[in-house]
């Protein structure tokens, strides 16, 4: 059984059919890309997978469990984490606190312990700090733990967002255009980071990306979306030599 099974997924906004009859299967440990021209509905698919939008048709199952109708925070607790196309950090919190917020459901203590700093407060906070620093170290961000997230340079903000998502210990990580706005050097570095994340944290990754070098470099399987419908799927070599895909991207 595939880890993520999407069957005939569709959503309409008024008269607009944003996504239609999309089916996907992602195996555990896979690194899969979702590509397509602007406005094809890729981010809408992510929003349905994470419960931000409720699909009008179709089904989503993670390890056999139904995700439709669940709230975003519940879906996260079931093991799906994501990053955003336009970075969404907690800008006024420190880098460390951004990751600690991601640990919210992983290291917990009660409200009374929060209000009075009694019981396991100190122990749990120390655990959180250590764990968060461990994650930051992977992204080479541990030296900036005390900085406000808003003060980080762009590339590091992208990394911090991935670090925060990983803190929730997901089974499935969704990356929405991780290389957007990066130069070729930064993109190359990001490709290494993504590979490292997969091996170190053992997550399955689904990513949206326009950078074909990144996509063909690290993805094992691709789904191509155009006007909300699946245009093609297969290995990067198959998909990128498909004339329909080339037409969708470059025009006639």
């Amino acid at each position: 059984m595939a880890m993520l099974e999407v069957t005939e997924l569709g959503i309409s906004f008024g008269g607009l059919r944003a996504v239609d009859e999309l089916s996907m299967k992602i195996e555990e440990g896979g690194l899969v890309g979702l590509i397509g021209p602007n406005g094809a509905g890729k981010t809408t698919v992510f929003n349905m997978l994470t419960g931000v939008y409720r699909p009008t048709d179709g089904g989503i199952r993670l390890d056999g469990e139904n995700l439709i109708g669940k709230k975003p925070h519940e879906i996260c607790q079931m093991g799906v984490a994501r990053t955003f196309q336009n970075i969404r950090l907690f800008p006024k919190l420190t880098v460390l606190d951004n990751v600690k917020a991601g640990l919210h459901n992983k290291i917990t203590y009660t409200l009374a312990e929060s209000l009075f700093h009694l019981g396991s407060y100190r122990k749990k906070e120390t655990q959180m700090n250590e764990k968060a620093l461990d994650i930051l170290k992977v992204f080479d961000l541990d030296g900036m733990a005390d900085y406000k997230a808003a003060n980080l340079p762009y590339g590091k903000q992208r990394k911090l967002e991935i670090a925060r998502a990983l803190a929730t210990e997901p089974k499935l990580l969704l990356l929405d255009e991780p290389a957007a706005g990066m130069n070729p050097n930064e993109t190359a570095e990001l490709m290494e980071t993504i590979q490292l994340v997969r091996s170190k944290f053992g997550v399955t990754i689904l990513l949206i990306e326009h950078d074909m070098k990144l996509v063909s470099g690290i993805c094992e399987y691709l789904y191509v979306l155009n006007f909300g419908r699946e245009l093609a799927e297969g290995t990067p070599a198959e998909v990128l030599s498909n004339p329909e895909v080339v037409t969708a991207y470059l025009g006639e």
């Binding site: 996260c76 969404r88 907690f90 606190d97 203590y109 929060s114 209000l115 003060n151 803190a167």
Partner: protein, 356 residues
């Protein structure tokens, strides 16, 4: 000063907050001992403490949670009248005034928290301006309900009514809350010391909350609701938590405030009071707890201190408010903040170059 700079930002805030409370207490005690304090200022001491608590608790909603609430005085009202009912009911049972006050505050906190849940559940589904307007409405609703509330006590216990007609008490009965006439003949049991104790308790709870798992969740919701949901934080839950804690603290402040006067009427806790507290918070800085303390203390005393210049008193007060607003929005403050941000960036670049 240098030592203060080396502390982590949250520890530094804690030190400043508790330090301010301690300094305030010591200075006032010294002034009382030295006879340097006049009667009108002395009368302001408990209200100052009550307003500090109001400002700190409202900052939890407005600064930490990031939702504008315009009905905070409503919760103060609930706490004030709940506290009055408790103290007057227990007057014969518990002779110790401080103990009676403490019990009254606890009951007031619970009542205000319940009001906070009732108001918060529908209101927190809204955002921004809509939320602000509805909190304003709820503040007025609370005021109007208390305004027609009749509570009395006789041999058979407490009696409640929202109608004056037909409200009769048995022999030896005593009215506690008399509708729009409010309450009179309150035994003044609030003292400056009890006020400071409550300020410290408030600081303890609010600062602890901010520096905890729950506080981080609340600030995450403020900074980016969608991102907070995406990492498994229930936004409804943490919004309500901040709102209810804020309401409960306002309730305690209400009891403290009411027990300082012999007469209290519902119309005291109206829209103007809510706005006044909001002014303390905004001028002290959103999310800045010690800023709220200074804002509340200074702006409560200021009209008293400006009494000598009589006619120009409110004019000066207004000018000062405008000046502070201008400063808060001005390039000066922005430049100060930018400088701090730039320093961090520079340090970052240096360390990168060093590392590479």
């Amino acid at each position: 000063m240098k030592k203060l700079k080396n502390l982590s930002p949250s520890t530094r805030d804690n030190v400043i907050c508790y330090g301010l409370a301690a300094v305030f207490f010591i200075v006032v005690q010294a002034m009382i001992a030295g006879g340097l304090i006049n009667n009108s200022l002395k009368g302001q001491l408990v209200p100052i403490c009550a307003y500090i608590i109001m400002a700190v608790s409202l900052n939890l909603t407005v600064g930490v949670l990031g939702e504008l609430s315009l009905g905070h005085a409503g919760f103060m009202s609930v706490g004030a009248f709940a506290g009055i009912v408790v103290t007057s009911s227990l007057a014969d049972v518990i002779p110790s005034a401080p103990l009676r006050l403490a019990i009254a505050m606890l009951v007031a906190a619970v009542c205000a928290a319940v009001a906070g849940v009732i108001v918060g559940v529908p209101v927190l589904r809204l955002k921004g301006d809509y939320l602000a307007i509805v909190t304003l409405a709820f503040g007025e609703i609370i005021k109007n309900i208390v305004n027609v509330l009749y509570i009395g006590r006789d041999a058979s216990g407490l009696h409640f009514s929202l109608l004056e007609q037909g409200f009769e008490l048995g022999e030896g009965g005593k009215m506690i809350i008399n509708g729009p006439m409010g309450v009179s003949g309150i035994q003044k049991i609030s003292t400056f010391t009890s006020g400071i104790v409550l300020v410290v308790i408030t600081l303890f709870l609010v600062l602890n909350l901010i520096n905890s798992r729950a506080g981080r969740a609340i600030m995450a919701v403020r900074d980016n609701k969608i991102a907070a949901e995406s990492i498994g934080i229930s936004t409804t839950r943490y919004k309500l938590l901040a709102f209810v804690v804020s309401a409960a603290l306002a309730g305690m402040a209400g009891t403290l405030y009411a027990m300082n006067y012999s007469t209290v009427v519902a119309s005291k806790f109206d829209f103007n009071t809510s706005i006044l507290v909001l002014v303390f918070v905004v001028l002290g800085g959103l999310g800045n707890i010690w800023g709220s303390m200074i804002g509340a203390a200074v702006l409560t005393v200021l009209p008293e201190l400006l009494r000598p210049v009589r006619d120009y008193r409110m004019l000066l007060y207004a000018i000062l408010l405008i000046a502070m607003m201008l400063f808060n929005n001005s390039g000066i403050k922005q430049r100060m903040l930018d400088k701090r941000g730039m320093k961090q960036m520079e340090k970052l670049e240096k360390s990168e170059k060093g590392g590479a």
